[in-house]
């Protein structure tokens, strides 16, 4: 009898779920691009221009971070997200930074597991109505049909505001700003509500902006800022201090025009530390000494970015208001670079 012994080798696939333990900074530097989550298109904040290049106030934050980390403001991969998809995109690691006029709230910071790195725009929720409706106050909106973007804090504020004021309303939930604009212009809703800055940006893109009024009531506080995943403090610090660098640059009078001259060395030690000619703040973050200089070179300081994207000279026409420097009576304030 022939005895054949079969020696099988069961090659089980190596299923060990290896976890990339590299930090976000290392990941971004290895990839050579920063994945930055932005909106699907809000003029002035984040929208592609005629050449397909993303422009705007939130986009400028992404570019500044990319400039600080990678030395190239254009090394950004923009990922458009909706109000519903943005948090999942950030939590899953699809994006490294979310700069999408997102409101800083307790539950998002604590429960959802994100870290807000600061506030780049102090906003509040407002209402826009067609002028022909003859409404002059939000308290006259009982029974109105309201277009609203789902998955936002505005949705919750709206419910609270109408309930507290004993008014009824009919919500029309909408996914993106563009859709809301179309529904509002078609008259499918009487009112469009979102952050006042978003209303101004939307109104500016209308054919006849004068036919629409933004009601005086601001019904909520909406501190908008960029955010990152919780758990990587180094990455959060980098983003926080890039934003602070833009703000501090405005306060200290560092602009894109005089940046080179300032970087050569000044007699103000704070500017020298900011621009990396004195001390080693960059190295503490794991970046080069001139990280802030690169960030400011990307689009100018906070004031310049504001003026170029959403300021009074642009079609959006937003005044600085709360978003002026603290020295000008606003709330924008950067901790010292020391």
């Amino acid at each position: 009898m022939k005895k054949s012994v079969f020696l099988g080798t069961l090659a089980a696939a190596a299923l060990a779920g290896g976890f990339a333990s590299a930090t976000t900074l290392e990941d971004v530097q290895a990839a050579g691009t920063l994945n930055c989550g932005v909106s699907t298109g809000v003029n002035g904040f984040s929208a592609p221009d005629a050449n397909g290049v993303w422009q705007g106030f939130d986009v400028a934050v992404c570019r500044a971070v990319a400039a600080a980390v990678l030395g190239d403001p254009m090394a950004v991969n923009f990922v458009p997200t909706t109000g519903q998809t943005r948090f999942t995109a950030l939590a899953s690691g699809e994006i490294d930074l979310l700069a999408r006029n997102t409101t800083w709230t307790f539950s998002r910071d604590v429960d959802l597991g994100f870290t807000f790195v600061g506030v780049n725009y102090y906003d509040g929720q407002g209402f826009m109505v067609p002028r022909e409706l003859g409404v002059s106050s939000a308290t006259e909106l009982d029974g109105a049909t309201v277009c609203i973007q789902t998955g936002t804090t505005t949705e919750l504020n709206l419910a609270d505001y109408f309930r507290v004021n004993n008014m009824s309303y009919e919500p029309v939930p909408i996914e993106t700003n563009a859709e809301a604009q179309q529904q509002y212009l078609a008259g499918a809703c009487d009112v469009y509500t979102t952050d006042a800055s978003g209303l101004a940006a939307t109104r500016a893109s209308f054919e006849t902006p004068g036919d629409h009024v933004i009601l005086p009531e601001i019904i909520s506080k909406e501190p908008l800022g960029p955010l990152v995943r919780q758990g990587d403090d180094q990455w959060a610090d980098i983003n926080r201090w890039v934003l602070n660098a833009l703000i501090a640059a405005e306060e200290l009078g560092v602009t894109s025009a005089n940046l080179e001259q300032m970087a050569a060395g000044t007699d103000n030690p704070e500017i020298n530390r900011l621009l990396g000619t004195e001390g080693d703040l960059g190295a503490m973050l794991g970046l080069s000494a001139d990280f802030a200089r690169n960030a400011i070179a990307a689009g100018g300081n906070y004031g310049e970015i504001f003026a170029a994207t959403i300021g009074e000279a642009t079609p959006i026409g937003l005044a600085r208001g709360l978003n002026a420097q603290w020295t000008q009576g606003g709330l924008i304030y950067a901790p010292p670079f020391r």
Partner: protein, 416 residues
């Protein structure tokens, strides 16, 4: 081999696991099972590790916390002070309402289109071919958005109905078609029986009474017709039943409606919108029409296949007995075709139910938009929310196919 097969008792060796056909299938199955379990274990392990890395726990407590958002279409009482769980139930009810409406409409349109496509009238048959090929070859999402866009862009706004010489007027003075939806008259009861509280919902006793009376009437009528058939079989003479049927079907419900003080509540322009009556929102209309006309095209093909599967001899036999063509279709062909039609029809009903989750595109607040959309977004419980949603869709789908399978067993060919 011949020598081996003659061997009486061969001791078991390891090689037999692979070379002996008695054991080989077990080896393969056990190996596949181990791989499957390893794969599942890896998925679970990966999930747990990633959740831990994100600092998240796994909990369904969020279902009991305040939702904070409003829902436009509410079959049961709900506002922003209710819980996320309640919002999910409202969403589930909206899903079911839409699914039932779309299934009924799609079946009616589909059967008509399927029969007409077989028509001998060239124009009718070709028209149906064009309808079927157009609708089933364009994605359903596009049809939904087309209906939604047509409704919101080309219908008049409520303000167009205002004034002495309005730009738009109501249909029959009772139906208002606006770009926010269609307002139709709704039922109203003057001597209402009130409501009853069951498991946190308050269904109206009036509606329940109407449904019960209608069901009883129909049941009594069925008994009457059966009795007539029995008499006919026994004596050859069919007793006249039509006036009894009318009496049984109409008299009780008329008396009940009169007693309840039933009248119609007409929509009326007040403030920003029409008030009163029933509002069928644009989102519901877009989903309903979009799903119906799209799925009806598939059902039409299923019906056509079912009819063609019946031997032509059946039709010819019926004609030879002098049965009219319409009765041939209704009494001879369709009952036999049903056994071919029903199993694929079940899949179409399941498709409709699952496609209701496209409601997000037009802002229809179904289960996907409430539990799977806003709730997940506000609470950050993606995994729990998605798992729960999958489970609910699974249960709904299994329930539908279970009910339809019972029906299938009743209509299938009885083999005696």
């Amino acid at each position: 081999m011949a020598m081996d097969s003659g061997a009486p008792q061969r001791s078991f060796t390891l090689g037999m696991l692979l070379y002996d056909t008695r054991y080989r299938s077990y080896t393969i199955q056990i190996f596949a099972l181990i791989l499957l379990m390893l794969g599942a274990a890896w998925l679970v392990d990966n999930t747990i590790r990633n959740l831990a890395a994100l600092g998240k726990d796994f909990s369904f407590d969020f279902l009991w916390s305040t939702s904070g958002y409003d829902i436009s279409q509410r079959p049961i009482e709900y506002d922003s002070t209710y819980t996320h769980g309640r919002a999910a139930i409202v969403g589930l009810l909206n899903t079911l309402i839409l699914a039932v409406m779309a299934c009924v409409t799609a079946t009616v349109i589909g059967v008509i289109a399927g029969v007409l496509r077989l028509s001998k009238n060239w124009i009718v048959a070709k028209l149906m071919t064009v309808y079927i090929e157009t609708f089933r070859n364009v994605p359903v999402l596009i049809w939904i958005i087309v209906v939604s866009a047509v409704m919101s862009e080309s219908m008049p706004a409520p303000s167009a109905f205002r004034g002495d010489t309005p730009d738009a007027s109501m249909l029959f003075d009772s139906i208002a078609i606006t770009n926010r939806g269609v307002y139709v008259p709704g039922p109203l009861f003057d001597n209402s029986l009130g409501t009853v509280s069951v498991l946190g919902v308050q269904p109206s006793l009036d509606i329940i009474a109407v449904i019960v009376v209608l069901a009883l009437s129909i049941w009594a009528n069925v008994r009457l017709v059966r009795h007539a058939a029995k008499v006919q079989n026994a004596t050859g003479i069919r007793p006249k039943t039509w006036w009894k049927s009318i009496l049984i079907l109409l008299a009780p419900i008329t008396i009940l409606l009169f007693a309840l003080g039933f009248h119609l509540d007409y929509p009326e322009l007040r403030g920003f919108n029409f008030q009163g009556g029933i509002q069928m929102r644009n989102s519901l209309l877009a989903m309903w029409l979009g799903l119906s006309i799209y799925t009806a095209a598939f059902i039409a093909e299923i019906v056509r296949a079912g009819i063609l599967a019946i031997n032509k001899g059946q039709t010819e036999a019926a004609y030879a007995l002098g049965v009219q063509p319409s009765k041939t279709m209704r009494l001879v062909i369709l009952p036999q075709a049903l056994r071919v039609i029903v199993p694929p029809l079940i899949s179409q009903y399941l498709n409709i139910t699952k496609n209701t989750s496209l409601g997000l595109a037009v802002g229809y607040m179904d289960l996907r938009s409430t539990l799977g959309g806003i709730t997940i977004n506000q609470t950050g419980r993606e995994l729990e929310g998605m798992l729960l949603m999958m489970l609910i869709y699974l249960l709904v789908s299994l329930a539908i196919s279970g009910v339809m399978n019972v029906y299938n067993n009743r209509v299938r060919l009885k083999e005696r």
